[in-house]
C-alpha cells in the first residue's frame, strides 16, 4: 500500500517536471536523420564524418564518453553523464548547432568558443580514446573555455596543453554551478575544495539520497587510483565520479561508480570513503514548485 502511494507521488512529480528531458530513442531518431554534415568553417581540424560518429557513439553508449589521459576534464565528463542520460536529444541538437554555426545555447548558457579552442579541437594527441573523439574535444574544450572558477584565475587563456593544467580544472562550486545553469537541475551539494563534509555516517547519508537523481562525488583521486607509493599525499579532491550504487555488509562498503568511460566496482571501508570524499552533489530534476 505504501509503495503504491510512493509510485503515485513520483508520477505527479514527473508530470510537473519543468526540466526538458528526452529519451535515448528520441536522440537516436534525431541523429539518424542526419546523414551528412558540411565541413564546418569554425572547426578546421574536425571532419564531419568522425564528428557524427562520435555523437552517435555517445548517444548509443552514453557510458563510453572519456575525458582523456592526464587531462583535467573529469568534471566535464561527469557533467556529460548527466546530460547524456537525462537529455540526450538536447545534447545531439546542441552539438550539431555548435559544429555548424560555431555557437549554440544550452540551458541558460550561450557558448561562443574562442578561436584558440576552434583550432585546438580535433588536434589533441596522446590522450587515448579522446584522440579519436573530435566531438568530445569540442564539448570539453568549450565547457572549459566558458566556465571559470577561482582555480582558473591565473590561466584563463587557452594555450596548447592547457587541458592538463589549471585552465581546465573544476573546483566544486564551479561544478555545481555548471549543472544548475546547463541542465536546470536542482543540486543539493555538501562539501568543499578543502574540508570533508561534516557528516557522521557518510554511507547512510549517501544511500538515503540515492533513491532519486544522480549522485556525484568529489573525491581525492590519489587514494582511489594510486599513482605513487609516497606516504605524503595532498589532502585535496581532484576527481569527480558518478556514484551509481552503494551497499554495505558489516564494515565493507561496495560502490559501483562511473568514471574514465566505464563503470567500476570497488569495496572499501567507511573510514576510507570518508577519507576520499570532499563533496557530495545530489542532482535532481527541478520541479515547478522548487525553490
Amino acid at each position: 500500500m505504501v509503495i503504491d502511494v510512493v509510485s503515485a507521488s513520483d508520477e505527479i512529480h514527473f508530470k510537473n517536471d519543468t526540466t526538458p528531458v528526452s529519451t535515448q530513442q528520441q536522440a537516436i531518431d534525431f541523429i539518424k536523420k542526419i546523414d551528412t554534415l558540411i565541413k564546418s568553417d569554425y572547426w578546421p581540424h574536425i571532419r564531419p564524418k568522425t564528428f557524427l560518429e562520435n555523437i552517435r557513439l555517445n548517444i548509443y553508449k552514453p557510458l563510453s564518453i572519456y575525458e582523456g589521459v592526464s587531462t583535467n576534464f573529469c568534471g566535464y565528463a561527469a557533467l556529460s553523464y548527466i546530460l547524456l542520460h537525462d537529455d540526450p536529444l538536447q545534447y545531439a541538437k546542441f552539438m550539431i548547432e555548435l559544429y555548424e554555426h560555431g555557437e549554440a545555447t544550452m540551458g541558460k548558457v550561450f557558448f561562443h568558443p574562442s578561436p584558440e579552442i576552434e583550432q585546438a579541437a580535433g588536434a589533441m594527441k596522446f590522450k587515448g580514446k579522446l584522440d579519436i573523439s573530435p566531438a568530445d574535444q569540442i564539448w570539453f574544450l568549450s565547457l572549459a573555455d566558458h566556465f571559470k572558477g577561482y582555480l582558473n584565475v591565473f590561466d584563463k587563456h587557452y594555450d596548447a596543453g592547457d587541458e592538463d593544467k589549471l585552465w581546465a580544472s573544476v573546483n566544486y562550486a564551479k561544478f555545481n554551478r555548471m549543472v544548475r545553469e546547463l541542465f536546470n537541475e536542482r543540486v543539493d551539494a555538501i562539501g568543499s575544495d578543502l574540508i570533508h563534509p561534516a557528516i557522521n555516517d557518510l554511507y547512510e547519508y549517501i544511500s538515503s539520497k540515492m533513491k532519486k537523481g544522480t549522485m556525484v562525488l568529489y573525491i581525492n583521486n590519489t587514494f582511489l587510483y594510486k599513482k605513487t607509493h609516497s606516504a605524503l599525499k595532498l589532502a585535496i579532491p581532484t576527481h569527480y565520479i558518478i556514484l551509481e550504487r552503494i551497499s554495505k555488509i558489516d564494515d565493507t562498503i561496495t560502490i559501483v561508480y562511473w568514471d574514465y568511460g566505464g563503470r567500476s566496482l570497488r569495496q572499501l571501508t567507511p573510514k576510507f570513503l570518508k577519507r576520499i570524499t570532499y563533496g557530495i552533489s545530489h542532482c535532481t530534476k527541478k520541479m515547478n514548485d522548487a525553490p
Partner: protein, 200 residues
C-alpha cells in the same frame, strides 16, 4: 661560512650520486632483468586476451596487490594481501587462469614490478595497444630521488625513433610520442623505457 660551503658540497654530491645511479639503472636494469620482464609480458598478453585485467602492487613492501578485472559491463577492483586464500576464489569466479595470474604476481614481486596493464594508443585514427610495466627498483627509492619508477613499454610493432633514441609518432613525423605524459627512449625496436615520478 665554512659550514655553508660544506653543505653546498654535500648537497651537490648527493645530487651527483642520484643522477649517476639513475643513469646506471637505465642502462643496466633491462639487460639484467630481460628474461623475467619478457616472461611477464608474454604471459600477461596471453592471459589478457582471455579476459582483460591489470595488476598493481599497492604498497612499498610488495605485500598487497590490487587486481582490476574487466568484464563487458564492469571493472571489478579488488585488493588482496599476497598470501590471502580468497585470491584463488576471486580468480576462479571471473574465469581467470589461476596459475597464470599467480605466476605473474610472483614474477612481478621478484623484480619489484609495481604495475602491469594494457594501454591503448592511436595512430591515424587506428587503435594500437602496448603493455605498460612499471618497476620500483631499490636504487630509485633513495631520498632526493623524485622519479622513482622505471617504466618499460612493449609495442606489438617496431616503432620509430630519432637520432637520440626518442620515441616518435611516425617515421615521417619527427614529433615525439608521449605515453602517460612521458617521453620514452629506445631499448630495441619494440621496447622503450622512461623514468617517471608515477607508476601509472
Amino acid at each position: 661560512m665554512r659550514h655553508r660551503n660544506l653543505y653546498q658540497i654535500l648537497f651537490a654530491a648527493v645530487i651527483f650520486c642520484g643522477c649517476n645511479s639513475t643513469q646506471k639503472i637505465v642502462t643496466t636494469y633491462y639487460a639484467e632483468n630481460e628474461q623475467v620482464l619478457n616472461n611477464i609480458e608474454q604471459s600477461f598478453k596471453t592471459l589478457y586476451r582471455q579476459r582483460p585485467f591489470s595488476i598493481e602492487f599497492t604498497d612499498r613492501s610488495f605485500n598487497f596487490f590490487s587486481i582490476e578485472i574487466m568484464t563487458d559491463s564492469l571493472k571489478y577492483i579488488y585488493e588482496f594481501g599476497i598470501n590471502e586464500k580468497r585470491i584463488k576464489d576471486t580468480l576462479l569466479k571471473y574465469a581467470l587462469n589461476k596459475e597464470g595470474i599467480l605466476d605473474i604476481i610472483t614474477q612481478m614481486r621478484s623484480i619489484q614490478c609495481t604495475w602491469i596493464n594494457n594501454l591503448d594508443f592511436y595512430v591515424d585514427q587506428e587503435k594500437h595497444s602496448l603493455v605498460f610495466i612499471s618497476m620500483r627498483p631499490v636504487e630509485l627509492s633513495k631520498p632526493f630521488t623524485n622519479k622513482k619508477y622505471y617504466i618499460i613499454t612493449y609495442f606489438s610493432q617496431p616503432q620509430y625513433f630519432d637520432n637520440e633514441g626518442k620515441l616518435l609518432v611516425k617515421k615521417q613525423m619527427k614529433r615525439t610520442r608521449k605515453i602517460n605524459g612521458e617521453i620514452f627512449w629506445r631499448i630495441n625496436d619494440k621496447v622503450c623505457y622512461t623514468i617517471s615520478a608515477r607508476f601509472r
